[in-house]
């Protein structure tokens, strides 16, 4: 039996509903329909009254979750696409994210964001919003790249007393498979060395992990051993694991699917430059999507985001510097 990334997210929500009566799910079409991507399939029938279709009102959906959290509930809200969370942005960054700091009352909500580009999805069904949310104090931002992490991090997201932005990548939903769900997990906030190497470090997360692993594989025939780090959560950012890797390899490439200006990549490079400048044998490099909306046409899209071949080419530059 194998389980997909999407099924893992569904299974984790099912377990959270089973284990904790405070948990409920609220979002557009999440009820009998099981969600636009089927991440809540059958859950409405299994847990009557706890998995509810919401009106088309993201602002109110997140606001409802915050109010319920104040009263001790553990809501999971689904945005139909990450892109639509902009409509609930105020409630996320000003209400949920400031509550604990202002009142000492924590805000244990999970906002699920089906994120990232897919073929033909265009400007409004493709966005990667982790950096935007990470910018605001008061939020934990998760970006699982594996089936195991999708499962265990979703469970942790519900258990954590603070608001969690759960960025799940749509490109991984159906293709990414594991043999079974994990029984244990690395702690949230710790990065993982997805592939060990000695010549350069690639720091990445979410779907770009798989492009980066492919690039690392492509460089084997040239004799290069690339270390690939999966951040898992972008906030908190596990600077120690990154610095320890750069100390071994001396070279750093950071890869992300989001836009370049002020993002996760910029933050990683900034930390390595300020805290580990002496570890670097070459200037650090980065790859992001281009600084335009995500284009619709498949050819434009392929040139808009980093791909394994673009990563491999950039690594070759880095290694010969």
């Amino acid at each position: 039996m194998s389980v997909t990334y999407l099924e893992a997210i569904r299974a984790a929500q099912e377990k959270a509903l089973t284990d904790d009566p405070r948990v409920f799910i609220y979002g557009q079409d999440v009820g009998a329909f099981g969600g636009a991507f089927k991440a809540t399939k059958n859950l409405a029938a299994e847990f009557p009254g706890r998995v509810m279709d919401a009106p088309l009102s993201e602002d109110a959906i997140v606001g409802l979750a915050v109010g319920a959290a104040i009263e001790g509930a553990r809501p999971i809200v689904e945005m139909q696409f990450a892109d639509f969370s902009t409509v609930g942005f105020n409630q996320i960054v000003n209400q949920a994210a400031t509550l604990y700091y202002r009142t000492e009352v924590p805000c244990p909500i999970v906002v699920r964001l089906p994120s990232g580009g897919t073929l033909g999805a265009g400007p409004f069904h493709s966005q990667s919003m982790e950096a935007v949310y990470a910018h605001y104090p008061g939020l934990v931002v998760m970006t699982p790249a594996t089936v195991e992490d999708a499962y265990s991090m979703m469970l942790e997201a519900v258990a954590i007393d603070d608001p969690v932005i759960f960025c799940e990548h749509k490109l991984l939903y159906y293709h990414l498979k594991a043999d079974k769900l994990p029984d244990s997990a690395q702690p949230v906030g710790k990065a993982r060395i997805a592939r060990a190497g000695r010549d350069a470090t690639v720091v990445t997360y979410s779907a770009m992990l798989h492009e980066s692993l492919q690039a690392a594989e492509d460089l084997v025939e040239d004799g290069w051993q690339i270390e690939v780090i999966d951040l898992r959560t972008v906030k908190p950012l596990d600077t120690d694991t990154i610095l320890a890797s750069v100390a071994r390899t001396g070279r750093l490439l950071v890869v992300g699917e989001a836009w370049p200006w002020g993002g996760v990549n910029a933050e990683v490079i900034s930390r390595v430059a300020t805290e580990g400048f002496g570890l670097l044998d070459a200037a650090p490099m980065r790859l992001n999507a281009r600084d335009t909306p995500v284009p619709y046409h498949p050819d434009l899209w392929a040139a808009h985001r980093p791909t394994a071949s673009a990563i491999a080419a950039r690594l070759r530059q880095l290694l010969t510097q």
Partner: protein, 346 residues
């Protein structure tokens, strides 16, 4: 302010017969275009989703057919017909779905996310409700420029009425007394979500009174009723009576998108009046009023299909954008482009 709630279900009409025929032929063309889009989707020739307006052609056509050059139209998901009635073409429709560089969106955006803003044809974003204040803004600017008699029409679904942008946009338009017509296609569902989980008012039209604007109601499956209602609403807006709300009841006769079998739709609704096909109703009306014969309608249908084939032939031969030639810049002020693209050299 007058509250004009009108119920128009009659087949006898004062509408110009040429207009009735023109509207029906637009509906036929939209249906033929969308049937073709559905088959292209099934053949894997369109990347991304396909979202059709089957069953909503009468309302959509009526939404824009009374607009003139200089007016503003902000269509939404199910408005293939209204788009054509406003001057969009079948060719540009296919160009946008296929990502042709010659289309208005040049492969940068696709499917229903198309428009030509300079021609008053606004290009929707996906975020529902967002267009209401934007069309209001277009009208506001026209008024500032001293233009009179301009009308803006935008449409939305039952689901979209639950957005903050819808509420804020209409309220603002009412405060500003703008000539905005908001056409609400109450097709009973927002994706899978039934009206019972969407709003608690007895009738969406009740909202008009809350905003202090005029409201009209019509049967969205009845082309004559849609045309009569929209004619009144557009005229009222044009004459300076402020925002107008039109609520039409109907059913979408396809899935939310072509990936969706719409199994959640109540079978009783499909059998009810609301589930009628407006093209069939329209044919009955034309034949019943001696404006066309069944044979003529069959010929028009063939002509529409031929027009669709011809347009598709052209669009299919056109190139998509070349990433190497693409101007990767998202602002118009060239000297202010940030210019940082990690991927530039690849």
């Amino acid at each position: 302010m007058v509250m004009a709630v009108k119920e128009k279900m009659v087949v006898r009409t004062d509408l110009d017969s040429a207009l009735l025929v023109r509207a029906y032929r637009v509906m036929l063309l939209a249906r033929a275009t969308e049937d073709k889009l559905a088959s292209l989707y099934r053949a894997g020739m369109i990347k991304g989703g396909v979202f059709l307006g089957k069953g909503q052609e009468a309302l959509s056509t009526a939404s824009s057919i009374f607009l003139q050059k200089g007016d503003i139209f902000g269509p939404l998901i199910r408005d293939q017909a209204g788009r054509l009635a406003f001057g969009d073409t079948v060719l540009d429709t296919f160009r946008t779905y296929l990502g042709s560089v010659k289309g208005p969106m040049r492969g940068r955006d696709g499917n229903i996310h198309r428009g030509r803003p300079r021609e008053g044809y606004y290009a929707m974003i996906s975020h529902l409700g967002a267009l209401v204040p934007v069309v209001a803004g277009g009208l506001y600017a026209r008024r500032l420029r001293g233009e009179t008699g301009v009308v803006g029409v935008t449409s939305i679904g039952d689901g979209g009425t639950s957005t903050g942008a819808f509420h804020e946009g209409i309220n603002l338009a009412a405060v500003e007394h703008l000539p905005l017509v908001v056409v609400i296609a109450n097709n009973q569902y927002a994706y899978s979500t039934p009206n019972s989980r969407q709003f608690a008012c007895a009738d969406l039209l009740d909202k008009a009174a809350g905003y202090g604007i005029a409201g009209f109601k019509c049967d969205g499956t009845n082309p004559v009723a849609c045309l009569e209602t929209l004619q009144l609403a557009v005229q009222a807006a044009r004459e300076g009576n402020g925002p107008q709300m039109v609520v039409a009841t109907l059913l979408r006769l396809v899935g939310h998108g072509e990936h969706d079998d719409a199994g959640y739709v109540d079978a009783a609704l499909r059998q009810a009046n609301v589930g009628r096909d407006c093209l069939e109703v329209g044919a009955t009306q034309l034949i019943g009023s001696d404006l066309a014969s069944g044979e003529e309608i069959a010929v028009w249908t063939k002509e529409a299909q031929a027009q669709v084939e011809a347009a598709l032939n052209i669009a299919q031969r056109e190139k998509g954008p070349d990433p190497a030639e693409e101007d990767w810049r998202a602002i118009s002020t060239e000297r202010l482009v940030d210019g940082h693209h990690d991927l530039e050299d690849e």
